[in-house]
């Protein structure tokens, strides 16, 4: 394209402050029509704030927003939409009990007469949009009955009720299977062809390098630079993001393995998982890799006593056990760092120390009272060991960064001195720097003799931390790999349900 096109959208010198925090410090950003422009940055770098400014949810303190050559002020998301800027949220903003059509036209239901809904127009228009997106459901469907991927389609459909100039995708592939991702990418290509400018926010380097034309990096609220995707590589981008290169190598020292701590035989809970058999020895990290819905989290929940299997055996140290509740699991030495740290891992209204000591608060007593000495001892120990950044133990957990919150959860379970540590999606939504720290920590824990199970949906992560990898698909174990023999291709094949000739 050699013509000088007007950017579909340009942000100039955007400054946004909140009490005590300068979230955006003079950021410049632009999207050309028909371009996919990726926006990268660690958590807290300001991506979300920038997008909210764009979508009309925040007003910039300084700076200008220019759309198709005209400066605009957008005070509400509706005004932003009228200008052709649509944000597809990371957390879906749909009304679950209403139909897809009503969700698509939320706030702009077609009317007839005095405040009555024009149902015919509503369904006609929404079905037209859904067809354009190749969806297999209609506007009459109730959103709560749709799969996550389909719900995302509804969210995207909402963007298409107007002729969008710019569509912003915020972490769109977090809950999608590979097949669903392909559909999404097709839609993005379609939008590109229609000269829509696309902003793509994601942590996933592989997607960014596949899809985007340019990459802009933010760090600590400031603009760090824009690169042309074809002319750069992951390392350069990472350096822009965190100011240094990441050492992504594995230490290839052979693990010192101890006895088998956990033995699972034919564990089944249809339709979630079937015939699961594996074992974990002290000193090794076993990674569970698979798509969303493969059944990994459900197995973890069963091992932690939150779910009852229909059949199968669990043996700890060679002894068959019944795990009927989390208390049982804990007394057997099994700890679970759950998938969702805000909803399952932490009581956000309580302080750091109390969160960390919660599972054992009954035992940390002197007389009938809780011993704050013992509690503080535990907190101090793991704060130092895990390098948790918080002003004091009294700090309410809710205000900590994602990485620090996750460390509190990990500290909580390490302080229980488990034999088996299960970690479910340990670095979801965590910045690159802290990610690396946690990966190193997991390797260290294994070296210290813990039996570690890591459940992950990110291939680089699972390849980095695991000594062995269990690939799952649709509730079954497809194949087990050792760290030496695994390749990206064979792993992807396994989790997509493809059995190869030399399957274990």
């Amino acid at each position: 394209m050699t013509e000088l096109l007007e950017p579909a959208l340009r942000l100039q010198g955007i400054v946004k402050t909140f009490p005590g925090v300068r979230a955006l410090d003079g950021v410049d950003f632009e999207v050309m029509p028909g371009e996919v422009h990726a926006l990268l940055g660690e958590n807290g770098a300001g991506k979300s704030t920038l997008m909210k400014v764009l979508a009309g949810m925040y007003q910039p303190n300084e700076g200008q927003i220019i759309i198709a050559g005209q400066p605009v002020r957008m005070t509400t998301p509706i005004e932003a939409k009228a200008q052709g800027v649509v944000l597809i949220h990371q957390e879906l903003s749909l009304v679950p009990e209403m139909s897809a059509a009503e969700n698509i036209y939320l706030g702009e239901l077609p009317r007839k007469g005095l405040g009555w809904v024009d149902w015919r127009t509503l369904y006609k228009n929404s079905n037209a949009i859904l067809e354009r997106l190749n969806c297999n459901f209609r506007g009459e469907a109730t959103v709560v009955n749709l799969s996550i991927a389909n719900q995302q389609m509804v969210e995207i459909a909402r963007a298409l009720t107007v002729d969008a100039r710019v569509v912003v995708f915020d972490e769109p592939t977090a809950s999608l299977t590979d097949a669903e991702k392909v559909v999404l990418f097709d839609i993005i290509k379609d939008l590109k062809a229609r000269n829509v400018g696309i902003v793509y926010i994601s942590h996933r380097m592989d997607e960014i390098f596949t899809l985007s034309d340019r990459i802009t990096v933010l760090r600590d609220g400031s603009y760090r630079g824009t690169l042309t995707t074809a002319e750069t590589n992951e390392d350069e981008v990472t350096r822009l993001m965190i100011g240094r290169s990441l050492d992504l190598s594995r230490d290839t020292a052979p693990p010192k393995l101890g006895a088998t701590v956990l033995d699972v035989r034919d564990l089944s809970c249809a339709p979630l998982f079937e015939g699961i058999s594996f074992s974990v020895r002290a000193g090794e990290v076993v990674g569970f890799y698979g798509l969303v819905g493969a059944g990994r989290t459900e197995i973890a929940e069963t091992l932690f006593g939150l779910r009852t299997a229909e059949r199968g055996e669990i043996l700890v140290d060679g002894v068959p056990v019944q795990i009927g509740s989390p208390q049982d699991a804990i007394s057997l030495g099994i700890s679970l760092v759950p998938e969702n740290r805000k909803e399952q891992g932490l009581v956000l209204s309580m302080n750091c120390r109390d969160n960390m000591t919660l599972p054992q608060v009954q035992k940390l007593t002197s007389g009938p009272f809780v011993s704050s000495g013992a509690e503080n001892e535990i907190f101090d120990k793991y704060r130092d060991k895990l390098e948790i950044k918080t002003p004091s133990w009294r700090q309410v957990v809710g205000v900590l960064s994602g990485g620090n919150q996750q460390k509190i959860v990990i500290g909580k379970w390490l302080s229980m001195k488990p034999r088996v540590l299960i970690v479910d999606e340990p670095t979801r939504g965590i910045d690159v720097g802290s990610k690396a720290e946690i990966h190193t920590l997991l390797r260290e824990l294994a070296a210290q003799g813990y039996a570690v199970i890591v459940i992950s949906s990110e291939m680089p992560e699972v390849l980095r931390v695991s000594d062995r990898i269990v690939a799952m698909y649709s509730g079954r174990i497809m194949r087990e790999f050792t760290a030496d023999e695994v390749t990206e291709d064979s792993l992807v094949q396994a989790i997509s349900g493809i059995k190869t000739a030399d399957a274990a």
């Binding site: 949810m57 509400t76 998301p77 509706i78 903003s93 749909l94 009304v95 679950p96 009990e97 209403m98 009503e102 939320l106 706030g107 702009e108 239901l109 009317r111 405040g115 009555w116 809904v117 149902w119 459901f137 209609r138 009459e140 469907a141 109730t142 009955n145 809970c269 979630l272 929940e301 006593g305 939150l306 779910r307 009852t308 509740s325």
Partner: protein, 329 residues
């Protein structure tokens, strides 16, 4: 797969189980008492339930919104007091039967105003509706006592107190008003923009805000509707009694909420409908009427109703296991 609106009778019943219950108790009492299955008794039931029923229509809207209104009983009493008392004001002395018009209008206006006040406070302060209307429940009752000075008002106008005996053909006028209001609110909720927005605001408030729905005024309107209906109910009740007492309507909110929850509306908002509420209202009405006819002492009625409410909750939990059943939380 998409769920088109193919309503097989069985599926409809599973989504609105209260009507199954209504049918069961209906049959039960028809068998157990000779006086139940009688035309006039049915009229009775409709009239008796209309008091709670009218308010329940409004409560459905408010609860789908994600709010609640505990002050309806007190509003009912205040409206009744105005309706009866204003008729005897000196300035209307020469109006004859037309006295009724300003009295009833004022009463209804009071209901709307109180609703607007509650709604406005919920909107602007951000305090939860439960607390706002809890306070209003106390305070409005205080207004009733201040206005009436602990005494009751008696209607002097026979046209007023005979109103409840009128009928439209075979239907008592009170039943007609109730059914008419039921129809209107049903249409409002299922077919109007305001009604659909009610589900949106209750189902995902943030999404509604971002979609440009003006949540504050919207909730205020729903509070005004329930205020109006509570006032209307109070007016109609006072025509039946020919009087307005200061303790009128105490505990009514209990029955209203019971009826609405029995009808399938969720306390958390975003779900419910008028058809279900009507079922809940009828269920309670038939139960009370039937037990009355069977001469069950009033004491047992309370116990039975409380137990039924709890039983319905248990069944609802059993039948509506979310997609991830099996996770032991």
């Amino acid at each position: 797969m998409s769920n088109l609106t193919d309503i097989t009778p069985l599926r409809w019943l599973m989504r609105n189980p209260i009507w199954g219950f209504v049918v069961i108790v209906f049959i039960f009492f028809s068998l157990m008492s000779d006086h139940f299955f009688d035309y006039r008794n049915f009229q009775n039931i409709l009239v008796q339930t209309s008091t709670i029923g009218l308010i329940a229509l409004g409560m459905t809207l408010v609860m789908i919104n994600g709010n609640i209104d505990l002050s309806v009983g007190a509003t009912l009493a205040l409206a009744a007091a105005f309706a009866v008392d204003v008729q005897s004001w000196a300035m209307f002395a020469t109006w004859g039967n037309w006295q009724i018009l300003p009295a009833v209008s004022l009463a209804l206006l009071v209901g709307i105003a109180l609703g607007a006040f509650n709604g406005f406070i919920v909107w602007k302060t951000g305090v939860d509706a439960f607390i706002v209307t809890l306070g209003a429940m106390l305070g409005i009752r205080g207004l009733v006592f201040v206005y009436s000075g602990e005494s009751s008002f008696y209607a002097m106008n026979f046209a007023y107190s005979d109103f409840s005996a009128l009928s439209f053909g075979p239907f008592p006028v009170l039943a007609v008003i109730f059914l008419l209001c039921t129809l209107i609110v049903h249409l409002l909720l299922s077919r109007s923009v305001h009604g659909r927005n009610t589900y949106a605001v209750g189902g995902n408030r943030e999404a509604a805000v971002n979609a440009g729905i003006r949540v504050g005024p919207h909730m205020m309107v729903n509070f005004m509707i329930i205020g109006f209906l509570a006032a209307l109910s109070g007016v109609l009740l006072s025509t039946q009694m020919g009087a307005a007492t200061p303790n009128l309507g105490r505990d009514y909110e209990l029955w209203v909420i019971t009826a609405v929850v029995l009808g399938g509306t969720k306390l958390t908002g975003g779900k419910g409908d008028i058809v279900g509420t009507l079922g809940g209202v009828l269920a309670i009405g038939i139960l009370r009427n039937g037990m009355n006819l069977m001469q069950v002492p009033a004491f047992y009625v309370y116990v039975i109703l409380g137990s039924i409410l709890i039983a319905v909750l248990i069944l609802d939990k059993r039948f509506n296991r979310t997609a991830d059943g099996g996770l032991r939380l």
